[in-house]
Amino acid sequence: MSGLISILADGIAYGMLLFLFSIGLSVTLGLMRFINLAHGAFAMCGGYVAVVLLNGFGVPFLLTLPAAAVVTGLIGVVLERSVIRHVYPMPELQQVLFSIGLAFAAGAVANILFGPQQQPMLLPDWLTARVGFLGVGITGYRLFLVLFGLVAAGLLMALFNFTLFGARVRAAVDDRRAAEGIGINVDRLFALTFGLGAAFAGLGGALAVGFLGLDPTFPFKYLVLVLMVVAIGGPGSIGGSFAAAIAIGAIDALFKYLVPEVGNYVIYALLVLMMIFFPRGLAGRAA
């Protein structure tokens, strides 16, 4: 029984990581209607920033996290202003082709800059130790991920639902011309939102290195899982993405443990069922 609970706890921690990866994509896809398959490249970027700071400059692990988010966010804003905004009005297929190309390019750049090998990242001892939490054994790092994910989800939900910034973004999405007409600078708003999504991806990437490793193929390795989170959660919904990511992490772990013969496929079956019965995802918003 304690085995079962500790597996669940691990699965939830894994889900939190998926949530941090996918939240930026959910925002750009749901709010800005831009299909950004290069989202994983931002996560990779955050990972490399963290690794370079930690291994190259001896910056403490906790400080590398905000640095990864800020640097990736800025790169996101620059890219949005220079290239990506021209892609918004294009049809979906072109958006997909453009962004997948961007992801390949990012992987190639990482290959040139850092080489194809795995980047080592050794976490501080307090994060790798196994701790008891509410009677369940879990490593410090996974507990840290869970807490981090909860805080991030709370902050983002508050930002989009209860602040003026959030209201403006929602207004711009619903009717761009009307929003511009009442004086909202939609261009700047979208750039900021895109940067925010990139920053969260960068943060997720930095947090993931110690757990999933990092190399130039990173943008593609988690693309399927991230798209699953967004599809099941419903694009644009932070709460939906959160629930979907946790469910995927926990259900995957649970079935792998209970019925290892088929456990690897359960989440994919779940995705198919969801798409048949709830094509708009948990949150039910149209994409």
Binding site: I7, D10, Y141, T217, K221, K256, P260
Partner: protein
């Protein structure tokens, strides 16, 4: 500045003179030497994509060899032409590149093949074109049976898995739980470990097969712990997957539960160790090479490797495999006295004995597969760094699957 320039101008003038006199002497000297000629070695490796890392390891091994031993064997100048087969799942590309190398680049020997399907798809082509193919990584047992022109200098997975199984049974381990990646090599590892271990009196009490790219091993490790075996045997395809697996064995507290961890040595490749850290503590593995080997060939290799790849670089066992592939070609050219037709080369390769950085190995004349020592190693700290330290050597290990 002006002063320092002066001698270099002189030196250049001198070298021009030397070159001129050498050129003048050359036509006279020429009839005395046997024919000078060039031999092209075509190289097929994954140099881009997910497995670019493996290709680069191999490439560095080839460069290191030519750096140390030069490009000339007798009167033959060995030149390499590299092609990128982009990793597994591109057998057709690997076959096409092999063909291009033979037809356009006039390659007389092909070196490479990181993945089994890529080697297999080129097999019939090599047979037809009568060109030797030296395999420097692909590890499935069957490959060398598919063409009489294949020879292998890497290893086969059954060599590692069954050596480890034997060792475990001999050293009083009674029960084992296996965790292998669910694809060809993983099933090979499971089969041959189990065979050797149970033949020695051990018992496999359970097992799990994990998705090839799985990153979360908690559920499988938890099952392993609950099965209460004395040891867990693990195999996965290296890279980030193996780093994740190793780290999680520590997170999950395998050793606190009193369970030993046994893995095939490719899982704890020397150049992954920095990313694994203390997860390597006490892990038993079987492999044919580790950086710490103390022999003259390895010292020489490491010096050359660090000139090629940088002072702080750590070679992979794959680097050595490629290095040995070149060694085998040079050996064959020496033995044939410069004859480069496929049958002469293959005859020289059969039964060849090479003094490799991994220790001496031979090529079995019957199967053209490698016969080598397998080291049983334990993960421990040496000079403040984690390393695989060999404590037992099983000599003359043939591929048990043949």
């Amino acid at each position: 500045m002006a002063r320092s320039k002066q001698p270099s101008v002189q030196a250049r003038r001198r070298s021009v003179l030397l070159a001129a006199s050498a050129a003048a002497a050359f036509p006279l000297a020429r009839p005395a030497i046997a024919q000078e000629r060039k031999l092209v070695v075509g190289v097929v490796l994954p140099l881009s994509g997910t497995f670019a890392d493996q290709g680069r390891n191999n490439e560095e091994g080839i460069k290191t060899f030519q750096k140390i031993h030069g490009t000339k064997v007798g009167n033959v100048t060995v030149e390499t032409v590299m092609r990128d087969d982009q990793g597994p799942g591109s057998g057709d590309l690997s076959r096409r590149l092999t063909q291009e190398l033979i037809q356009r680049s006039r390659a007389e020997i092909i070196l490479g093949y990181s993945f089994t399907p890529n080697a297999l798809s080129a097999a019939s082509l090599l047979t037809e074109a009568k060109k030797p193919g030296i395999i420097i990584n692909a590890a499935t047992s069957i490959i060398t049976e598919r063409s009489p022109y294949f020879a292998r200098v890497s290893m086969t997975l059954p060599q590692l898995a069954s050596s480890l199984g034997q060792w475990a049974a001999r050293n009083g381990i009674k029960t084992v739980f296996t965790i292998v990646s669910d694809y060809g090599p993983g099933l090979d590892a499971e089969t041959w470990f189990t065979k050797a271990f149970e033949a020695g009196g051990g018992k496999v009490v359970g097992g799990a097969r994990t998705p090839v790219a799985a990153m979360d091993y908690s559920p499988f490790l938890q099952r392993a712990i609950e099965a209460k075996p004395e040891a867990v045997f693990g195999f996965n395809p290296g890279g980030d997957v193996s780093v994740a697996f190793m780290k999680q064995t520590k997170e999950r507290g395998l050793s606190q539960a009193g369970i030993k961890l046994l893995v095939t040595g490719d899982v704890v490749d020397d150049n992954l160790i920095p990313a694994m850290g203390d997860a390597l503590d006490g892990v038993i593995s079987a492999l044919h090479y580790q950086v710490e080997l103390d022999n003259p060939a390895n010292r020489r290799f490491l010096t050359g490797f660090r000139e090629v790849a940088g002072a702080n670089a750590t070679p992979s066992y794959r680097t050595v495999q490629a290095y040995d592939g070149m060694a085998l070609i040079y050996h064959a050219l020496q033995a044939t006295g410069g004859k480069t037709d496929a049958d002469s080369i293959m005859n020289a390769i059969k039964g060849a004995r090479i003094d490799s950085p991994r220790g001496p190995f031979t090529i079995d004349p019957a199967t053209r597969d490698i016969v080598q020592s397998i080291y049983i190693r334990r993960g421990q700290q040496r000079d403040g760094r984690w390393a695989n330290i060999a404590f037992e050597t099983i000599e003359g290990v043939k591929d048990p699957a043949k």
